[in-house]
Amino acid sequence: MLQHYGPQLVNLFAAVLLLLSFAMLSQRRILSLINLYAAQGFVLFLSTALVAWLTGQHHLYGSAALTLALKVIALPWILHFLIRRLNVKWDVETLINIPTTMLVGIVLVILAFNLALPISQLAGTVTHSTFGIALASVLLSFLMMITRSKAVPQVIGFLSMENGLFFAATGAVYGMPMVIEFGVALDVLVGALILGIFVFQIRERFDSVDTRHLEKLKEH
């Protein structure tokens, strides 16, 4: 039965992933932002596991496990730990208001779909149609980083972009070879750690985590 509904399920997971990206774009509270990121990680894990089971690509099980460990458990825990130490539960104000961000998001999704059309037609994989969605989620997380002025949401935007890339990889080519998966995962983990350290140093130096304080280096 799973065999028959497999491709629709993968498309469903892709749609949910896109929905989560939109939700993160419009989210005000930081805590729910982190939970949404964890949810996105979980959907990615399910989709990878499903594809692994459908296509019998055993190395995808490994990458699914890696996603689960890293993007569902480790990183959200680090982010929660960060929020608790900085005791910041304030809501997140954005540079441009939410409705316009959503509009821009929609335009980006249309652009991503058109762009991905030729590639998805060429892709032989069962999940070829999801490449457009993956590209859209990458662009949306890019937009999220631009519109957020606080440091932590920018970090979350960066991490969700990594999710989008992983989804694109599984969508187009059933994931990159294992050694690359490990390398990328390691880089993302170290990156998150370093960003955490930075947020602490910025907090200690500027006693606020708003990037608007980080505007001294400019041309006069």
Partner: protein, 484 residues
């Protein structure tokens, strides 16, 4: 695994680990130099081997050395070693001034070695995925170094450096995925279709539309690391706020390595598409970088920031040269890469000492270097003359070749290039001259500055300007043919 490459990669790794533990010890700087020297010896051995029996693939085609990346390996190892020599007294003075803690010294030395490991990995690997991972590692190692002083500005610079480069490299990952996607159709799944040598063999069968989209992502990705203009904003802050050895290595080497990666992909994309899409993009970005950077120069007040913009301008010129393509232009691009990294690192060494001596990086407060310490003054003056393309030095030789080919192939671009080079000359020389000449009350520093690296670099650049040893010329021509 061929012994040279093993040693080449093992010594910085070992250095990184050892110095992570003993980095704060007084003898740590000498150890740092030792490890870099070991790497240089390995690189020399590798060069000898490649010169002797041509391109070599090692360890099941995971590593691939040909004439293009072997001279970059040699250059990276050499400049890393000289920067280590320069950083010994420099960091000791910074330590005495209390700007760097014991932990900071440990972090500095270990990250320094890991950074050279990352760069050498990018240069030697044949696997495009590993290349991406190594490039990301290079960014990670340097972002902490940029924030070493924990001042207001260095934190801001590090944050911007990380966010912008992180986003940029994410695009590069998407580009690599697409290249893998296109290659997989012909070479089948698995690591095989990520190896550059395989891709190079089948590059004309690759799917054109996918390759063009992939090249766009890669250009935005690695272009951010090279500092091409619309994506350059992080570069001046990162190069100016970190400790000077870091700025020297960033400006001198990391930009070259990023451009090398971009060139590797350009070779494949050119093969895949018949129309010169990739070359036109490179030329466009290169020209924009030269023009915009030239205009930035005259607004600068911080000396390292000014030379960071000069790096953007020179990288733009090199990208323009590779964009033009053809044997002479590529030859000039490679030559310019070499002389630019040698000269720019020499300038940063001299600027480092000058800034330490005057206690500030603001050009208005640095005066009369010739009076206080003639060697630093002369180092800065000759370095500036070299970087501005004054003839006896090698930078003029490569600029002459680039401009003459530009006159032949793209006559419309030449006046624009020349005007911006002229403006750059006017602004940089106008600001450096008062720094070097004139009266001052700056005091001498306890530790004598290590200026051997400055004058070895400038001597090399002078030699390249006047007399090109035939084997080096043959080497560059071979690499230029490879780029096509």
């Amino acid at each position: 695994m061929a012994p040279e490459i093993a040693l080449l990669l093992a010594s910085p790794l070992a250095g990184g680990i050892v110095l992570a533990l003993f980095g704060h010890r007084p003898r740590a700087a000498e150890a740092n130099i030792g490890f870099s020297l070991l790497t240089l010896v390995a690189a020399a051995a590798l060069v000898a081997r490649v010169v002797a029996d041509g391109p070599v693939t090692v360890a099941g085609e995971q590593f691939f050395i040909d004439s293009l990346n072997v001279f970059l390996v040699a250059l990276t190892a050499f400049v890393a070693m000289t920067t280590a020599m320069f950083s010994a007294p420099y960091m000791r003075i910074e330590r005495d001034h209390g700007r760097v803690s014991a932990g900071g010294m440990r972090l500095y030395h270990s990250m320094y070695q890991l950074f050279s490991l990352a760069m050498l990995l990018v240069l030697t690997t044949n696997n495009l995925g590993v290349m991406w991972v190594a490039m990301e590692a290079a960014t990670l190692t340097t972002v902490l170094l940029v924030a070493l002083y924990r001042t207001h500005a260095s934190l801001e610079a590090a944050w911007k450096y990380f966010i912008l480069c992180g986003v940029g490299i994410a695009q590069a990952l998407l580009g690599t995925i697409l290249v893998y996607f296109a290659a997989e159709k012909i070479l089948g799944a698995g690591v095989g279709s990520l190896l550059w040598t395989h891709l190079d063999a089948v590059k004309d069968q690759l799917e054109p539309t996918v390759m063009s989209i992939a090249f766009v992502f890669l250009l935005v990705g690695y272009g951010t690391k090279v500092g091409l203009v619309p994506l350059h904003n992080w570069l001046p802050d990162a190069h100016a706020e970190g400790p000077t050895p870091v700025s020297a290595v960033l400006s001198g080497l990391l930009l070259n390595v990023a451009l090398y990666a971009l060139i590797r992909f350009k070779v494949i994309t050119d093969g895949a598409l018949e129309r010169p899409f990739a070359s036109h993009l490179l030329m466009g970005f290169g020209l924009a970088s030269v023009v915009v950077a030239a205009f930035f120069l005259s607004r600068q007040r911080d000396v390292k920031r000014m030379f960071a913009y000069s790096s953007i301008e020179h990288m733009g010129l090199i990208t323009f040269a590779f964009g033009m393509g053809g044997p002479v232009a590529s030859f000039a691009g490679l030559l310019h890469m070499t002389v630019h990294s040698l000269t720019k690192s020499a300038i940063f060494f001299a600027v480092g000492h000058a800034a330490q001596k005057a206690g500030t990086q603001m050009m208005a407060d640095i005066r009369g270097l010739m009076r206080v310490n003639p060697t630093v003054g002369w180092g800065l003056m000759l370095g500036t003359a070299a970087i501005l393309g004054m003839p006896p030095f090698g930078v003029f030789a490569s600029e002459f070749l680039i401009l003459t080919t530009a006159i032949a192939q793209q006559p419309w671009a030449t006046p624009i290039l020349l005007v911006s080079l002229g403006i750059a000359f006017a602004s940089i020389f106008g600001k450096v001259q008062p720094m070097v000449f004139g009266e001052t009350n700056a005091r001498r520093l306890p530790h004598p500055p290590a200026l051997v690296p400055v004058f070895t670099h400038l001597a090399l650049v002078l030699v390249l300007g006047l007399y090109m040893p035939p084997y080096l010329a043959a080497w560059y021509r071979q690499a230029a043919r490879l780029i096509g």
